[in-house]
């Protein structure tokens, strides 16, 4: 922000031009964050879906003759594990589960939590009290402990892991959405919409939601990363994907026994988690900047 006065109209014009050029550049820089994130995610998704084309090994095929081969050894780019299974194949196939968690678990909780928070905030009264006490109940337990308890009850497995996440992580969305809705419903444009005789659903979904969605959308990007790590943690604890199915967390868990002799077993799937996590973070940051730019 310059505090000196322009001395001539031409200087004013120059300054305006410089400012708008600066804004264009910063907009591009913001977009680059988003584009990088999307590109990284696309690479991850493509690699996992096209796994059969990228590697000729099966993720579960055992080869007693070639165990614990280090990365860059012939035929095995990322080496093999203690059973002679190809690590690259396991990472690529394992990513399918982790990405499915990132999308499947997150999208369901995003939609469910948003609708519940919107209803609680807009309808208010007893509905609000009931739903929010329910949310408090879930928040009262340490999150991971709760998930572990649910998975332990349902039995380990990928689908039960989904169920556990669906049951618990809608609460964050509901709480964010409710707070946003309570603020939005006192806004003049909502009162004006009601003055036009619009029904509750219309006001909620067509008037409040478009104004409050950015907050939960951005949170969902963070949450997707969290869910991947959660899936990895549950796998690590033996509550997620079951052997011999490949899953990044399970792989890290198995690999830690060999951490001194075969570092690649735990490290490489860990890097895969980091890669996808960074991709989601970049998308979240880029999206936040873009939405904020739209507000201006």
């Amino acid at each position: 922000m310059s505090t000196t006065w322009a001395t001539s109209p031409s200087e004013l014009l120059l300054r305006a031009a410089a400012r708008s050029a600066g804004r264009r550049r910063s907009l591009l820089r913001r977009r680059i964050t988003l584009i990088c994130g999307l590109a990284m995610l696309a690479v991850a998704i493509l690699a996992c879906t096209l796994a059969p084309l990228l590697t000729r090994y099966s993720p579960t095929a055992i080869d007693p003759a070639g165990i614990l081969k280090p990365p860059l050894s012939p035929h095995h780019l990322l080496g093999t594990d203690q059973y002679g299974r190809d690590v690259l194949a396991r990472i690529l196939y394992g990513g399918r589960i982790d990405l499915a968690i990132a999308f499947g678990a997150t999208s369901v909780t995003l939609v469910g939590g948003t609708v519940i928070g919107l209803a609680a905030g807009y309808i208010g009264g007893r509905v609000d009290s009931f739903l929010m006490r329910l949310v408090d109940l879930f928040f009262a337990f340490p999150f991971l402990v709760l998930i572990i308890a649910i998975v332990a009850m349902l039995g380990p497995g990928v689908f039960n892991m989904f169920v556990a996440i669906w049951m618990t992580s809608w609460v964050s969305y509901a709480r964010i959405m409710r707070a946003q809705t309570v603020v939005a419903k006192k806004q003049q444009y909502v009162i004006a919409a009601r003055a036009l005789g619009y029904g509750r659903l219309r006001v909620m979904f067509r008037h409040i939601l478009p104004n409050t969605a950015p907050a939960v959308l951005l949170f969902s990007m963070v949450d997707a990363v969290g869910n991947i790590i959660l899936a990895a943690s549950l796998g690590f604890l033996g509550l997620g994907a079951q052997a011999p199915a490949p899953e990044w967390g399970t792989m890290i868990s198995d690999g830690q026994n060999y951490i001194l002799s075969a570092w690649w077993l735990a490290t490489l799937p860990g890097l895969a988690v980091v890669f996808v996590g960074v991709a989601f973070s970049l998308i979240g940051d880029g999206l936040a900047d873009l939405l904020r730019a739209g507000e201006r």
């Binding site: 806004q187 444009y189 009162i191 004006a192 003055a195 478009p210």
Partner: protein, 341 residues
């Protein structure tokens, strides 16, 4: 010109529960709006004008509001709209009763285009094909005087100026051809020239459609220009009401007189006087006449006597004043509505 009664409000009270106590925002307001009539509600900020409008529309938060009295919208039958089921009010709002707001900048959804919101309003109470709805929306924008309406449909509210937004809001309010429009200080946040244009537009649309209108303002000059009758409110009560000529020409209540003294009129006729003090707290309302603490003519009795609305003119004219000394204080003024610029 006015015909049969369209809206009757009887002894309306809207009390709001707050953490500081009960705010008696509207305390026994009665008024009638006839067909094709423009009624002005005037008063200082915080005297219950907006709450009156919002209570009529059923837009007050129900959990903290205690409302009593009667709101009867005659085309809908002789039933009280206060406490009517939500769906019943929803069906009336927009199609029969519409409202425009004080601050046009915030009354439109910031993330949706003007056209989108206008089309939504057009289709809210009528079955139209998308093409018909769009055509009607463009027609409405054109009618309220927005140039190049088809192009402006794609704009977002932030791309409109305040005056244009108020025009767009008027178009949205009129989308379902309401019988009664409540205009809550529609020009307060606009500059004087735009204010004039908007008022002119409202008056024109009212004449054209034959709808009735309640025009709320703190500015007597604004109200006197286009209203058939005027209701003056003070501290949640009606202190004077009557035809525009009666209220402006022969103000009987000291508050109305004080308001008129504060408005520039004619050419240099006397100085402008402001009213000393400020309106009383509506939580702790003064005894007796509510204007007595600020009234230059107040006597001891004024501070203890309950005041009532007294009929001052012959039957039919409906002029009423809430001052027991109206006979001695009601001066014949030389003012006329057109004097107030």
């Amino acid at each position: 010109m006015p015909g049969a009664a369209l809206l009757t409000v009887r002894d309306l009270r809207s009390y709001l529960a707050t953490s500081h106590g009960v705010v008696r925002a509207v305390d026994g307001v009665s008024l009638t709006v006839h067909e094709a009539e423009v009624v002005g509600i005037v008063g200082e900020s915080g005297c219950g004008k907006t709450v009156t409008c919002r209570t009529i529309m059923g837009l007050m938060p129900t959990r903290t509001l205690h409302a009593s009295g009667e709101i009867i919208y005659h085309p809908h039958g002789e039933r009280n709209l206060l406490g009517a089921p939500r769906r019943e009010m929803q069906a009336l709002r927009g199609s029969h009763l519409a409202m425009i707001f004080q601050d046009p900048m915030t009354a439109l959804n910031p993330v949706r285009t003007i056209g989108d919101q206008l089309v939504e309003a057009v289709t809210a109470h009528a079955r139209l094909t998308p093409r018909e709805a769009r055509a009607r929306a463009v027609g409405l924008l054109e009618r309220v005087g927005i140039p190049a309406p088809a192009q402006r449909m794609r704009d977002y509210p932030f791309q409109f100026s305040g005056g244009m937004l108020q025009r767009a809001l008027i178009a949205i309010a009129l989308a379902s051809s309401p019988r009664l429009l409540l205009a809550d200080e529609p020009t307060t946040s606009l500059d004087v020239i735009i204010q004039d244009q908007i008022l002119g537009l409202l008056a024109e649309l009212q004449r054209e459609t034959g709808m009735s209108m309640i025009l709320v303002s703190h500015d007597l000059a604004v109200v006197s220009g286009i209203c058939d009758r005027i209701v003056v409110m003070y501290a949640g009560q009606v202190v004077e009401q009557g035809t525009t000529e009666d209220v402006i020409g022969r103000p009987s209540h000291p508050y109305t007189q004080a308001l008129l003294d504060a408005v520039p009129h004619g050419e240099g006729r006397g100085e402008l006087r402001s009213i000393p003090g400020s309106p009383p707290s509506l939580i702790d309302v003064p005894d007796g006449c509510r204007f007595s603490p600020r009234c230059p003519h107040a006597l001891g009795e004024c501070r203890t006597w309950e005041t009532e609305l007294i009929e001052t003119s012959g039957p039919g004219r409906g002029a009423r004043v809430r001052c027991w000394r109206y006979r001695e204080l009601g001066k014949e003024r030389r003012w006329h509505a057109h004097d107030l610029a």
